[in-house]
Every structure is written in structure tokens, then in C-alpha cells.
Symmetry: C2
Subunit: 290 residues, 2 copies
């Protein structure tokens, strides 16, 4: 605890599971705040904006979490566009994704096309037909989109291949947890579709990109060696922490079992691990049990 | 001519451009037939079956071309399933793609789901919702699909990730020529979407896969050194010929200019090149002009 000023929490599997808060979390967060720690909550889910996530936190009884502590990948996309001074180009963004990305673009005053508005759009594919794109598109942001369709794919393809628009992905997660009943195809599908017709690799702004840590360092002046990444996944959360020079804590309240963590096959070792973040105040050093 | 028994023609840019036959083609094809040559017509477009392409040949005045000479990637997918004795597994195929793939599967008696039937399907994404898949799916065939949607992507994801179904792609073309007015996102998008949510690489059955040449060798006993691949693209058609030990002829009636062919940057050299296949009887050896 003495070595950490800032905790970054992955949400699903750490704070909640699907739509259910994990027991004891509100008390633990309050204890950390009382001890003077800064808290951030990150999610690669881009379907909600910070404001949209704030509502989810409120509904789960975590109304003490302000929108400013929430780093959704929709916000990360907007933060990246701010950092690269996209607004100064007077260009627009084409969105494959849901309302979260659009709300974040509204907040930074960047105009956009696509997203939910193109849910039912169909290109003219008859003889001589074409899809007309707005030539002022300078970037394509691709996030999870349950209404992805051929029109959106073709629009993005033309913007990237013909207008030279930048290709930005909120994240590359193969699967996501739309519902608890099964795994669902994630934004890896939407990004893969655009990679497959452009041959281009995107700039990724969510985990495991270092952008968020760069942002915190610049905005708040944090020392990254005193930040601890807390997550339930070895190959995203813990790796993200290690790759960015952060401390890392794995919790067993999500997808990773203690057996998997301690298996000789697992090469990704967190600094600490615990059953849940409620055990934060007495985490077990990974080495002592491994 | 003496060194070649079999000509394999790419169609678009060689036989026709979009919906227009290139002048003089019927006479040239007849001359080749009269000289005892075997002719095949290949296309990576999977939206039509052999039978569907036969109609296109007929409508362009090439009614002498029988369906058996047409190798669409929809047929290639069916030929691959026959070669691997898929029918003996009593499993089904899930199709992302259009009617061409379905018609070819009907011809080999392999049952399938998806394709045009899932054009408007929507998964239950409400709380606790899930998409129920038919557990007898043993392969997913992914071809160009202008009605691709999230339901189809999720269905394919579950079949591949959870049922262990084989992932088969008709082709990986980044762009395709749905209309002459612009380039359109190709099957690279649909395949990219499934790669992105499974982390798996597909078995590709269309160009540049060697499957078609293996098929011709086995079925007709051709000597591949006496086959000539004729196409308008260096990086697909000519490369396909070279990689498979065939002779290659580039025609300038499609996307490749003589300037590009002869540029020092181009490392892919055909054995011959000509303005159109009408110049077949007097092709210019590439070396003499290069």
C-alpha cells in the first residue's frame, strides 16, 4: 500500500460480474479513498461514454465514483484525438461503433458521421452504383458495434483507402461479455473487418495500448512506478501493467483461476494476487505462494 | 502454344470488365478450343455458383462455356469439403456468404445453415440472452456477404471457438468489383471479422491457394508444367501461377499497366504478357521487352 498512490481497476471480474456488483466493493473503495489513494476504472467496452458508465456505477450503488475516474475506450478514442489535435484539422470522424463513442466526440467538439445513424444504411450496389463518402473524413474510429453492416465497412474502407483517413481502434478484444450466458464476438471482429479490406493496422487506444498511462502521467503528473493495475486477466490486465512499468495485482474474482496463475505454463506473473479487491489490505505476494 | 495444354483464365479484366465482354474474346476462345486446348475460368467471387456463372457467360454471348469449366471460389469450397470427406462426418456447414456457396453445397449434398437465411437474424442480447447454435456444425465457410451482420459473426465465433468447427475462407481479397464505379470491401472483411474474434487463420480455397491446381491434377491428370495461368494481376494471378509451377501470362486489359509490369519495383515477372488474350497466338516474351 505504501508503494502505491494510484489504483487502476479493470471493471468486469473486479468490480462487478456482468450486472452484479461483487460483495464488499463499496467499502473497499471507500477505505482506499480514505487512505488518500487515487482510483481509476478502466474498461475496453466502448459502447458507453464516461457519462453512460457513471449511470452503471450509480445503479450498482457506486455513486461515489465520478465520471472523471472512468476510462472507457470510447473516452480513450476522444483523448487520443485531443492529443493529436484532430479538431484543428477541421475534419470529421467516421464511426463504426455505438453511442458511447459519439457522446465522447460531442464532448470534445469533433463532428462525426456513421455509428448508430448508419444502422440501416444500404449502399447502392446496382449497375454503376456507388457509396458517396464525405470527403472531409479524416479518421475512422472502430469500436464494438452490434449493428455492424456492409455499408459501414465499405464507408470505412473508402475513407481509409481513398481519403487516407487514420484508422483508430478502441480495442482488439476477441470476445466480450454482452451477457453472462455466453462469450460474444468482440471488437476484434469489427476491427478485423476493416483490417481485412484495407491491409492496414489500426492505432489502438484502449488496453493494452500505453495511451491511457501517458494521458494520466501528463494530465495528473503521476509517477507510473507508483500506479498499480488491478485486473482479472493475465494476458491483458497484468501484461498491460507490466508492459507499462506499473505494479500489478491479479484478482481471482473473474476469469483467471489460482491454478492457471500458478501453472508452470503461465509466464505472466503479477506482483500480487488476491481473491478479490476486498483483500487489498492484505495482498499475498505472488512469489510467496508460487 | 506448343508448351501449353490447359489455359486457366481469370475472368474480370481478362474475359470481361464489369458487365462488358472484352472485344474479340469469343473468337479467341474458339481458336484455342479448335487447337485442342482445355480452358478453365476462375474467379474468387463466391456470390454465384458454377451454374450462376454459366448464366453470366451465356448473357455475354459465351454460351460455349460449360459450367464444368468454371471454377468459382464457391465451387472451390465445395470441392475442398468433398476432398476432406466432410459429408461422411454427418455435420453441417454454417455459411457467411451468398447463394453461390449454398447452391454448391446443395450439389454435394452437404446440409448448411446461415447465408441468405440469416440476413435479418438478431441474437437475444438482453439480460441472460444468448445465441443458440446447432451443435452439429462442423465447418464455417466464409465468403463475400453484402448482408453480413453481428448475428452471423457471433454464430461463426461460437461454432469455431466452442464447437471446434473448421474455418474455411473462399478467398481473402481486400477489395472486389461489385460495380464499376468504385472499389468495394471484399471478402477480406468478412474473413477478417472471424479472424478477429477467434484468433484463428482460415483454410483458403480460392486463389492463391493451390487447391484448384491439385484438384485439376487429380481429376483430369493434367501436367501442371503444361498449364498456363492467364490474369490481369501480378500479385494474385501471376504469383498464383508461379507459386504452383504453372506458366503465366499477364494481360494488360485489366488493372496492371505495362509501366507497372516493367518497373524495376515489380519483382513478379510473368512468362509472357500481351495486351489482351486476343494476342494469344503471338504473345511477347516478357524478357524481350523488359
Amino acid at each position: 500500500m505504501d508503494q502505491v498512490d494510484v489504483f487502476i481497476f479493470d471493471c468486469d471480474g473486479v468490480i462487478w460480474r456482468g450486472d452484479s456488483l461483487i460483495d464488499g466493493i463499496p467499502d473497499t473503495l471507500e477505505k482506499l479513498r480514505a487512505a488518500g489513494k487515487r482510483l481509476f476504472f478502466v474498461t475496453n467496452n466502448s459502447t458507453k461514454s464516461r457519462k453512460g458508465y457513471k449511470k452503471k456505477f450509480d445503479s450498482l450503488g457506486l455513486s461515489n465514483v465520478p465520471a472523471e475516474e472512468i476510462f472507457s475506450s470510447s473516452f480513450a478514442a476522444a483523448a487520443y484525438l485531443e492529443k493529436t489535435q484532430f479538431a484543428a484539422t477541421n475534419k470529421k470522424v467516421y464511426v463504426i461503433g455505438e453511442v458511447g463513442i459519439c457522446e465522447e466526440l460531442d464532448l470534445i467538439g469533433v463532428p462525426y458521421l456513421g455509428g448508430p445513424a448508419d444502422k440501416d444504411s444500404v449502399a447502392d450496389m446496382g449497375p454503376g452504383g456507388m457509396l458517396h463518402v464525405d470527403e472531409s473524413v479524416g479518421a475512422v474510429v472502430v469500436g464494438f458495434d452490434r449493428h455492424v453492416n456492409y455499408y459501414k465497412i465499405q464507408y470505412a474502407q473508402l475513407c481509409i483507402n481513398e481519403l487516407g483517413a487514420e484508422f483508430i481502434a478502441t480495442n482488439l478484444d476477441a470476445v466480450t461479455h454482452l451477457t453472462d450466458a455466453q462469450e460474444w464476438a468482440g471488437n476484434g471482429s469489427m476491427v478485423g473487418a476493416i483490417k481485412g479490406c484495407t491491409g492496414k493496422e489500426p492505432t489502438v487506444v484502449g488496453k493494452p495500448s500505453p495511451l491511457m498511462i501517458d494521458y494520466m502521467e501528463q494530465k495528473f503528473g503521476f509517477d507510473r512506478s507508483r500506479i498499480c493495475m488491478v485486473g482479472d486477466r493475465l494476458d491483458t490486465d497484468v501484461l498491460f501493467g507490466k508492459d507499462n512499468g506499473l505494479k500489478s495485482l491479479l484478482v481471482l474474482s473473474g476469469v483467471t483461476s489460482e491454478e492457471k496463475l500458478l501453472s508452470p505454463d503461465n509466464k505472466i506473473k503479477p506482483d500480487y494476487y488476491a481473491e478479490t479487491i476486498n483483500d487489498f489490505f492484505s495482498p499475498v505476494p505472488a512469489e510467496s505462494k508460487a
